[in-house]
């Protein structure tokens, strides 16, 4: 096994016991990046010198017997939606191409406090709006399993980086599936924590009531490790949850213990919309759980059909407001030659935002406009409540709900760019977890006829990440899908 194949847990163990140095690990990471990044295009920026310096510092402290953090010396990639004081924070947009944040996001601070080595910032759909990373204005990321296919999105760069062994773990953000769907497309593990579990401070907002930062890894354990580092209350984020209400844990603790008397909920009617290969993989996964002693129960989720409609009203409404500060006056690109003061606003926004971002700003602005607010925004909030209710009722009957992550596997680059509605419909299975605020995970559960990865989604009640991870681990322990590698790293 070569170094890029090591998991974060294996790597930190090797570094802590000085079998290898963090400096070597980081050098090897960049060697792998040099080999594959020209094809994959996962990164928008790389921090070679800073990473080497941090790795050297970790090695020195380990050699001196000083205490080090939970990710000491481990290379990590972060989605370029998280503010960092080093490098630019672009959100994949022309608008913020030259934006340098004066502060670090809380999640970034926690990574650094855990002595992680941040190697670079990854590509994404502009302002996290998209499901293929094709909406990035600053780079093109391909799926490491099939370079003519998308990696998924919006956290496509992070998912591709982990899949291509450019780094063992990465952070992404998930507003409607932006961690789970690319994890599924790229054959890695991706976790969207409960809303409020991880501080959003320094996460450039798309849909504030839905956004959540989460980890990517190649194993459930690595994802658990990263979550342990980034989770917890942050006084700078009023929506981050009080740990007295929802205690955080070391999510590696007891991870391998199966959940006794596990009841898995399935909504067959809802899942019928997925492609045959995806449905077959789901059925096989249910058999795995059955064999592990779980009981499969049928649940009814009558309102999930309205999730996409509700989501695209709520998320775009919030986005239209969140993105109004990018106007060439306060933040972002400024048009070079405005005729007057109003043109500074209009032309800057016209020239620097991409099509999809403009589309969503228009949608959201419309939904909040006087006379339409009740019919769209307010109604969407009501649907959101109904969907929450569906989950509450379902979780009375089961411990976890299992469903596909996406109706399809990775599609071809360019296949859906001209049909936004088709693109939106692909979010059908991921969106409700964001609307309900519950945690969800995607774990590799098969390969389709084109040898493209399929993801299994597991959802549990709010703040039950420990249980969610154990349930996901039960599946992972019984299968070997997570060990499959794309051809480019064979």
């Amino acid at each position: 096994m070569t170094l890029p194949d090591l998991t974060a847990i294996e790597l930190r163990e090797a570094i802590a016991t000085r079998r290898i140095s963090s400096a070597e690990a980081v050098a090897e990471t960049f060697a792998q990046i040099d080999r594959l990044e020209p094809t994959v295009g996962a990164f928008l920026s790389l921090f070679r010198d800073e990473a080497a310096a941090r790795a050297g510092d970790v090695d020195r402290r380990i050699a001196a017997g000083e205490p080090v953090g939970a990710l000491a010396g481990v290379p990590v990639a972060v989605k370029d939606v998280l503010c960092t004081t080093f490098g630019a924070t672009t959100c994949g947009s022309r608008m913020l191409e030259r934006f340098h944040s004066p502060y670090d996001a809380t999640a970034i601070r926690r990574l650094l406090n855990a002595d992680a080595v941040i190697v670079g910032k990854t590509n994404m759909d502009e302002f996290a709006m998209g499901s293929s990373t094709e909406n990035s204005a600053l780079g093109r990321t391909v799926n490491p399993w099939a370079p003519d296919r998308v990696p998924g999105g919006s956290s496509g760069g992070s998912a591709a980086a982990v899949a291509a062994r450019l780094c063992p773990v990465a952070l992404g953000s998930d507003t409607g599936g932006s961690i789970r769907q690319p994890a599924s497309f790229c054959g890695v593990v991706g976790l969207k924590p409960t809303y409020g579990r991880v501080s959003r401070y320094g996460l450039i907002a798309y849909g504030s009531s839905l956004d959540q930062i989460g980890p990517f890894g190649r194993t459930v354990a690595d994802v658990a490790l990263l979550l342990s580092v980034i989770a917890g209350h942050d006084p700078a984020d009023s929506t981050s949850v009080d740990e007295n209400v929802a205690p955080i844990a070391d999510y590696l603790d007891g991870l391998d213990e199966p959940v006794e008397g596990l009841r898995i909920g399935v909504a067959p009617a809802f899942n019928a919309g997925a492609e045959p290969s995806v449905r077959a993989a789901l059925e096989a996964a249910l058999d795995v759980y059955r064999s592990a002693g779980a009981q499969i129960v049928e649940i009814d989720m009558p309102h999930l059909d309205y999730a996409i409609a509700a989501y695209y009203v709520i998320a775009t409404a919030e986005a239209s407001s969140n993105l109004s500060r990018y106007d060439g006056v306060h933040y972002g690109y400024r048009t070079p030659d405005p005729a007057d003061y109003v043109e500074v606003y209009t032309k800057s926004r016209e020239e620097a935002f991409g099509q999809e971002v403009k589309r969503r700003i228009m949608l959201g602005t419309y939904a909040l406009s006087s006379g339409y607010y009740d019919a769209y925004y307010l109604k969407a909030l009501k649907v959101r409540n109904l969907i929450r209710g569906d989950f509450v009722r379902a979780f009375e009957k089961c411990d976890a709900i299992v469903m596909p992550v996406a109706p399809t596997t990775a599609f071809k680059i360019g296949e859906k760019v001209d049909d936004p509605l088709k693109m939106y419909l692909g979010d059908i299975y991921t969106i409700s977890a964001n609307l309900a605020g519950i945690p969800g995970i995607s774990v590799p559960c098969g390969l389709d006829e084109n040898s493209l990865p399929i993801g299994l989604q597991v959802l549990t009640p709010a703040f039950s990440e420990a249980k969610l991870l154990r349930i996901a681990r039960m599946y992972e322990a019984a299968t070997d899908w997570h060990t499959k590698k794309p051809a480019m790293v064979q």
Binding site: S101, A105, G202, I204, D237, T239, S321, S370
Partner: protein, 487 residues
């Protein structure tokens, strides 16, 4: 023109800057007179990724103010985003309160010129963050100072219940007094702590019917005087305008005018009220606020007697004049000082005179209030008692008070030191009276014969005695002795 009558109708929109330690949604200290953009952070700059965190002190100040304004305090309130693009607004939305203001449906009592009080209804009072300031000082560009951005603002909206310029002024003065009493705002209009925007129009009655003039909102008012005069100016301008053009109130013809302090006129700023769609919606970055009964009780316990109630009580309970009661209650430290002196045994009128004639002037000279002087209320009470006991004269007491402030010494010691103790010893004074009577036979004659000069002569003799004692004789005692001897 005698067949025309009109009523003035004014409502006020007031922005009160709360004097919290930090801004509304971040930990920056409030800024007054700092270098531009010195008191800012990622949050009040609206930096990408930054998040607001509610300042509990601002909410409590707003609750306290709402209670003092007799408002219903919302059991549940939330934060809403109000969207508009403007350079001084970093996020291009303002965090405000839309449909659930922290206070609603209250009233404020104001004192009218004739001594009566009037109740002005308050529609709502809500919290929001202030914007920055655009500066147009440089040549071909403008600059923005965001020190003020994020300062907690309480926006108070009254019903159109004021019917004269003086009522508008009375409300403004009363509101300032209340905010200062509660300690929730410094209330300095010049510094923009309180910004008043009157909405003015007229209800005109003529033989051919009743008419309402278009509503005018006036801005740029930074003194009570400007506020009052702008309303007076608008009343006349609207009347003239109506008589000339006949234009009446319609949908969308509300306009905004700015007050020009130099020329004392209002100048048109915005012709028509633009149909603004602020696209309010609940801010997803903030959690709603539930004002629980124990919390409300705790805040209510911080309420004090309000200035107007205090002023009225000073007249009825202590027999002070309206004027003196107004002076003593204008600022809370003065009223508090006054009451502490009374609690220490000072006679109200005596203490009032000492404070209004000397104390307040000394405080003002030193640029502070009574509490900033090196002066204890109990010492002022002692001094008042000395006057009542005849130990010192009222005039001497004023001199002593000045010295007390200057030296910090006790009144009794200063009276000695300055030789201001009155002689009330009848025996000692009797000798001096005899001497004066012997020296002024003509005057004595005038008194005894009860001639036309009798009164004047009596005063003359008294003056002579006082003069001989170098002003230390108690005039009351001397008068009694004179009276007896001249019978």
């Amino acid at each position: 023109m005698s067949d025309i009558s009109y009523e003035v109708i004014v409502g006020l929109e007031i922005h009160v800057q709360l004097c919290t330690k930090t801004k509304m949604f971040c930990s920056c200290e409030l800024s007054f007179g700092q270098e531009a953009n010195a008191r800012v952070c990622p949050v009040c700059l609206g930096m990408p990724g930054s998040l607001p965190v509610m300042n509990g002190q601002a909410v409590e100040y707003a609750m306290l103010a709402a209670m003092a304004l007799n408002c219903t305090v919302a059991p549940f309130t939330k934060w809403d985003r109000k969207s508009y693009y403007y350079p001084d607004l970093p996020k291009n939305y303002q965090i405000s309160q839309y449909d659930l203001p922290i206070g609603s449906h209250g009233y404020i009592e104001i004192l009218l010129d004739d001594g009566q009080t009037k109740r002005i209804r308050i529609l709502r009072a809500h919290l929001e963050e202030d914007a920055g300031k655009n500066l147009h000082t440089a040549g071909n560009f403008s600059q923005v100072d965001l020190n003020r951005a994020g300062t907690p603002l309480l926006e108070i909206v009254t019903e159109p219940d004021m019917n004269s310029p003086s009522q508008v002024r009375a409300l403004a003065v009363e509101l300032q007094r209340i905010m200062r009493y509660l300690g929730v705002s410094e209330g300095d209009m010049q510094k923009g702590h309180m910004r008043f925007e009157p909405n003015i129009n007229l209800a005109i009655t003529r033989p051919d019917g009743q008419f309402r003039t278009p509503i005018v909102e006036v801005k740029n008012l930074n003194s009570f005087r400007a506020l009052e005069r702008s309303v007076a100016y608008e009343v006349q301008r609207q009347l003239d305008d109506f008589l000339e053009t006949g234009v009446t109130l319609q949908m969308g013809n509300k306009s905004t005018r700015g007050w020009n302090d130099q020329d004392e006129v209002t100048v048109l700023q915005r012709e028509k009220e633009e149909a603004h769609d602020y696209r309010y919606f609940p801010d997803p970055d903030l959690v709603p606020v539930t004002t629980t009964p124990p919390w409300l009780d705790e805040i209510r316990s911080r309420l004090c007697e309000l200035p107007l109630a205090r002023q009225t009580r000073y007249v009825t309970q202590y027999g002070l004049s309206d004027y003196d009661a107004g002076v003593l209650t204008a600022e809370r430290p003065t009223a508090d000082f006054f009451e502490r002196a009374l609690a220490a045994g000072g006679e109200p009128k005596r203490v009032c005179n000492l404070l209004t004639q000397v104390g307040l002037k000394l405080a003002k000279d030193r640029g502070g209030d009574l509490s900033s002087l090196d002066l204890e209320p109990v010492a002022v009470a002692d001094l008042a008692k000395m006057v009542d006991a005849g130990t010192v004269s009222a005039t001497a007491a004023n001199t002593i008070l000045e010295s007390m402030v200057a030296t910090g010494k006790a009144p009794a010691a200063l009276a000695q030191e300055l030789n201001l103790i009155q002689t009330s010893d009848a025996g000692e004074l009797e000798g001096i009276v005899d001497q004066v009577l012997a020296e002024n036979v003509q005057a004595v004659q005038d008194v005894v014969t009860e001639s036309k000069k009798s009164k004047k002569a009596r005063g003359f003799l008294l003056g002579q005695v006082i003069q001989k004692t170098k002003g230390q004789a108690n005039p009351k005692v001397v008068s009694e002795i004179l009276e007896r001897k001249l019978k």
